[in-house]
């Protein structure tokens, strides 16, 4: 996977500076980031905190502007959020006063889809994420894992070509997280979606991805891109294979140095 006619996501020499609130020189949050992601590919970004991985994801969605370089999605330069992209948020970002169904239909409503049609599509996607029958509940009545399934259904409901996931399972307990990872792969396999997945969990990145982008902090840069050659479809058993352990420890090898430095600093 090196050259594509039109990448799904092209991140080209991207940099971002943040102003120092205490009035010092601007902090380089990201510098010279190049990543090219093929249509249908599943790519994870991993790195220590402060490496700008979430910033990068939000730049791909157009929520944050780039200071240098350029990001294109499906060949079009990103200047703001667009209908071909959808985000699954770390904090779920559900609306507690709406039912589960209305939460899933939120994106459709913003696009002017008629109420009947929204209802149909929302229910279809709730089935897809395993929440059939929960339409009329409110988010507070669901567990964290189920709430993020609602977040996933909301993103899938707008039928995005590019799914952006910002540490989506980091607030969810370890066992539930494993189930969500498997379900996500199963759902993704039925689509031709491109997924960009930000995480700080090494096993999660290896289990899910075609490639893992390892980033380093200050300034945020790509350290290395690690291809994951585990066969698909991937099931739970793959977690206990020697290759899975090897790849996970390869990611850890790259990260360990940065985290040790971080600790010393």
């Amino acid at each position: 996977m090196t050259e594509f006619a039109t990448p799904a996501i092209a991140i080209d020499g991207v940099g971002k500076d943040y102003l120092d609130p205490r009035g010092g020189p601007p902090v380089r949050a990201l510098d010279g980031v190049d990543i090219s992601i093929a249509p249908g590919e599943f790519v994870s970004i991993i790195g220590p905190s402060g490496c700008g991985k979430t910033t990068l994801l939000k730049m791909v969605d157009g929520l944050i502007g780039v200071d240098r370089g350029e990001i294109s999605v499906l060949g079009r330069r990103v200047s703001g959020p667009g209908p071909e992209r959808a985000v699954v948020f770390q904090s779920f970002a559900l609306l507690p006063w709406l039912t589960v169904e209305d939460n899933v239909a939120f994106g459709l409503k913003q696009r002017g889809v008629a109420a009947q049609e929204r209802r149909r599509i929302a229910r279809e996607h709730l089935e897809r994420v395993g929440l059939g029958g929960f339409e009329d509940k409110h988010p507070s009545q669901l567990s964290g894992g189920m709430q993020q399934r609602v977040g996933l259904a909301r993103a899938l409901a707008v039928n995005p070509s590019v799914l952006l996931m910002d540490e989506p399972f980091s607030a969810i307990d370890a066992q539930t997280r494993l189930l969500l990872q498997s379900d996500l792969l199963r759902i993704w396999a039925d689509t031709d979606m491109t997924v960009l997945f930000v995480t700080h969990a090494m096993d999660e990145a290896v289990f899910l991805s075609d490639r893992v982008v390892i980033m380093e902090p200050r300034p945020g840069r790509v350290r290395e891109v690690l291809p994951i050659d585990l066969p698909r479809p991937r099931t739970e058993e793959i977690r206990s294979t020697a290759r899975f352990a090897e790849l996970t420890s390869a990611v850890w090898d790259r990260l360990r140095g940065m985290i040790a430095n971080e600790d010393a600093a």
């Binding site: 970002a93 006063w97 939120f106 913003q110 009545q141």
Partner: protein, 262 residues
């Protein structure tokens, strides 16, 4: 186990017990006032039963009709202006840091300033007609509506705002679908407090500016030292204020009908 079984009982118990001290203190106060009033030693303390009798007369003999009509008209117009303009100004301050920076100082000043001191100025501006009384109601009540609206609007969860932006929600859509919904408890509280302050402004205006309305009755009975009648009117005004605040509390959720938790 024992916790889950005892809790509802205890809650019911504390609720009942919470009313008892109030009833006891009320009874004690009324009995003491009645006894002191019966002695006739203090002109300021008429017997409670006399006040109650005057209150009954007030309600039935038609004395109230004209003052009440005048007062409610003034209050209604004043509150409509306060709630309408206060909400718009509060929204602008909540949404725009520039507008907030421009107006914040004046709103804070208005919150704490002795509005009563401005009544002579209002009389210079508007004369002694109803406009001055309406302006007094507005000056008493608008600030709290502005402050609650602007702080409610600012409280929206940034993650939800970002989510909405990501799904292409327009600015107006974000205001309507997220900010106002999240601000609803603050908006309602602002209206409740605004109504209570508006009633205060109303009576102050009527006493100071022109002897009309309920405040006019206060002034009339007060200057005649007709204490039982004075207290009867004050009681009526307090009940009216409670009713007005209660009405605002009941109507508010119907207008902003979002069920936050479902």
């Amino acid at each position: 186990m024992s916790l889950t079984t005892t809790r509802p009982v205890r809650r019911l118990g504390t609720r009942f017990l919470g009313v008892v001290p109030f009833l006891v203190s009320l009874t004690v106060v009324l009995v003491v006032l009645e006894l002191v009033g019966r002695t006739g030693a203090f002109i300021a303390v008429p017997p409670v039963t006399d006040v109650a009798a005057r209150f009954g007369e007030l309600l039935t003999n038609g004395t109230l009709i004209e003052p009440l009509r005048t007062s409610l008209t003034t209050l209604g117009i004043g509150l409509a202006i306060s709630i309408g303009a206060g909400t718009v100004i509060g929204l602008a301050m909540g949404l725009s840091p520039t507008v907030d920076a421009l107006l914040d100082l004046y709103v804070k000043a208005g919150m704490s300033a002795p509005i009563i001191a401005f009544v002579p100025l209002l009389m210079l501006l508007f004369g002694i007609g109803p406009e001055t009384r309406i302006a007094t109601v507005v000056l008493f009540s608008i600030w709290v509506v502005i402050v609650n609206t602007s702080s409610g609007i600012r409280r929206a969860d940034p993650a939800r705002l970002e989510m909405a932006r990501s799904f292409g929600t327009t600015r107006w859509g974000v205001l309507r679908q997220i900010r106002i919904v999240e601000a609803t408890p603050y908006l309602l509280e602002g209206v409740r407090l605004g109504v209570a302050r508006g009633v205060k402004g109303l009576i102050n205006g009527e006493v100071l500016i022109a002897i009309v309305g309920l405040g006019g009755l206060v002034k009339t009975y007060g200057t005649a030292f007709s204490m039982d009648q004075l207290y009867a009117v004050i009681l009526f005004i307090v009940l009216l204020a409670l009713l007005a605040v209660g009405t605002a509390s009941a109507i508010g959720p119907l207008i902003l009908r979002h069920n936050r938790e479902g």
